[in-house]
């Protein structure tokens, strides 16, 4: 196993390469306010991050990643366009797998640039490929923006679309919602009874808790409205299902997705962006004919990404986490920037894992 100083030396070398590509070095604090992280990731983050606290600042987390502090720093003081690089420890609680590290070094590169999103996507991916040259890795790419566009363009109510969008990152729950909204799954009996009841609020238990009677009434009203809404059409549903199964090399994936766009025309602008990205990658010398694209890639693990996503995996080592991951996170900047948005793309590499697979190979 590589030792700590070898890992740090490798990290420093990689950071220098990112500096050479025009990035400014940043060094965010190890302790991050827990509130923002909780707001962003929800309760799940408690299972993944170490929490500590003091009486003055309240709950703090040992940084589980760099993206959030780098975005915050850029939003408050950065000039545009900007490129940043960093290296340092991140901390992840491990409750199930003792072989996974709970503290490791990440090296990252983030680009904030409004001008040429396809170019910035390609720049990050190709710089990462360069850092990883010589290792036996498989690269996977995807684009959350295509699925988002498909859902937002469905011919159904805003409420249904919001419910689907909220669970875009939870495939099982997404499926349940889709089955319900398309009428494939019957309404649960208890619910039918409730909605048929002429006086659902005529119960004989006391009203308790912070959720008021008006909120219960509003939900019953919304459920009644939803019951009267026609199901999502078979065409759209077939389109969504076809979209999610696309798994091909990039140019073929684009071709298949263009076919899907016959049923789901709303994805066309997202496909144009994919096409521009393919061209930009090619211009940077990436062999797109051999680069995998999966439409469902990044749906389960990469919550804040909303456009291009990518990952590099060690061939023949399914036990290892990805060696590098990254993607576009425009929505995150919108959420943290109080309405101000800066298109952003970036990613992180794991020098420890790179050294480990190099050691095994030699």
């Amino acid at each position: 196993m590589p030792n700590r100083s070898q890992i740090q030396a490798r990290a420093a070398m990689m950071r220098v390469r990112f500096e050479a590509a025009g990035a400014q070095v940043v060094d965010p604090p190890l302790l991050q306010p827990a509130e923002i992280l909780l707001d962003l990731y929800g309760e799940d983050i408690r299972a993944r991050a170490y929490v500590t606290s003091d009486a003055l600042r309240g709950e703090q987390m040992l940084r589980p990643d760099f993206t959030l502090p780098v975005v915050q720093m850029h939003m408050s003081e950065g000039a545009e366009p900007a490129r940043y690089t960093y290296s340092g420890e991140v901390f992840r609680r491990q409750e199930h797998d003792p072989d996974r590290a709970n503290e490791y070094i990440q090296v990252g590169y983030e680009v904030f640039d409004r001008e040429d999103p396809a170019g910035a996507d390609a720049e990050v991916f190709s710089l990462f490929a360069l850092q990883l040259r010589g290792l036996r890795l498989r690269a996977a790419t995807g684009d959350i923006g295509i699925l988002t566009a498909a859902v937002q363009g469905l011919r159904t109510t805003e409420r249904r679309k919001a419910a689907l969008m909220r669970h875009l990152w939870r495939p099982r729950r997404f499926r349940v919602l889709l089955d319900r909204f398309s009428g494939r799954k019957p309404e649960p009996e208890v619910r039918a009874e409730l909605l048929d009841d002429t006086d659902p609020m005529g119960f004989d238990v006391p009203m308790i808790g912070k959720r008021r009677a008006s909120e219960i009434e509003a939900r019953i009203e919304a459920l009644r409205e939803d019951r009267a809404t026609p199901p999502i059409s078979d065409n759209e549903l077939t389109g969504l299902e076809a979209l999610l199964t696309v798994r091909e090399t990039m140019p073929f994936a684009l071709e298949q997705l263009r076919d899907v766009a016959v049923d789901l025309p709303q994805i066309t602008p997202a496909l144009d962006r994919l096409e521009a990205r393919i061209a930009a990658l090619q211009a940077r010398g990436v062999d797109v004919e051999r680069l995998d694209f999966e439409a469902a890639y990044g749906r389960t693990s990469m919550e804040y990404y909303d456009g291009f996503v990518f990952g590099f995996y060690a061939e023949g080592r399914p036990d290892l986490p990805p060696i590098a991951t990254g993607g576009r996170y425009d929505a995150l900047t919108r959420q943290l920037g109080n309405g101000v948005e800066i298109p952003a793309v970036g990613g992180v590499l794991r020098p420890d894992l790179m050294l480990e697979i190099e050691e095994v190979a030699s």
Partner: protein, 229 residues
């Protein structure tokens, strides 16, 4: 060396454990005064009784400081993430039955399932500006259960006792707690979600897989397990 047996140090759990062993010809008792947490074992040689709080027994088993221990399934699952590798279930003792469940106010007529809870959590957050709070002391089990079910927009608030009261006091909107008859829940105007059963628990005798056993320990263990089965 002797075989260390950990037993809850007070209350009905201790009494029922004592009588469960008694029926199998092994007499456990507290030595000395009521306040002293030392114990005595009659009817078998080479076993030492260690009286501990039920909540500490999982950790003691996992660290190998005791060889055998009696505590609830709920506590073992909550406190030991990889419990199968650290402890082995020897016997279900047939008492201390309780279910870890999720309950909401009974007046939430629009909520019956986890699906509903999730939808309500989203609306609640929009209306009140904070996540729907679920009071519990079983943080890990509840979080994993809800995450697996795809429930989002909730937050767990710690409650080490009188959890059923948190909803009336408006420090939580729902609870996840142990219940045996459901009576306390009803008295506090709460109802269990139809698919809100997280775990069925009962008092269980566990064997530590990590404790060290020398030849004599192994002999005593075999004899003890023989008599308990």
């Amino acid at each position: 060396m002797s075989l260390k047996l950990g037993v809850p140090s007070k209350g009905r759990l201790m009494e029922k454990t004592f009588s469960w062993f008694e029926k199998r010809g092994i007499t456990l008792s507290r030595s000395g005064s009521e306040r002293e947490y030392a114990g005595k074992v009659d009817g078998i040689d080479g076993v030492t009784l260690v009286l501990l709080s039920a909540g500490e027994i999982p950790r003691e088993l996992a660290s190998g400081r005791i060889h055998l221990g009696v505590t609830g399934t709920d506590l073992v699952h909550e406190k030991l993430p990889r419990w199968e590798q650290q402890v082995e279930q020897v016997s279900l003792l047939g008492f201390g039955q309780a279910d870890l469940i999720i309950a909401t106010p009974a007046c939430w007529v629009d909520v019956d399932s986890l699906d509903d809870l999730d939808a309500v959590a989203a609306a609640f957050r929009k209306t009140h500006g904070h996540r729907l709070r679920i009071a519990t002391k079983y943080h890990r089990l509840v979080r994993e259960f809800l995450s697996d079910a795809g429930v989002a927009d909730f937050t767990l608030v710690d409650s080490q006792g009188a959890t059923e009261g948190t909803v009336v006091n408006e420090t939580a909107e729902a609870i996840a707690d142990i219940t045996s008859t459901g009576e306390t829940l009803r008295a506090n105007h709460l109802k269990i979600l139809s698919d809100g059963l997280i775990l069925k628990s009962q008092a269980t005798l566990w064997r530590s897989r990590v404790a060290s056993y020398d030849t004599t320990d192994k002999q005593i263990l075999t004899e003890l397990l023989d008599r308990l089965s």
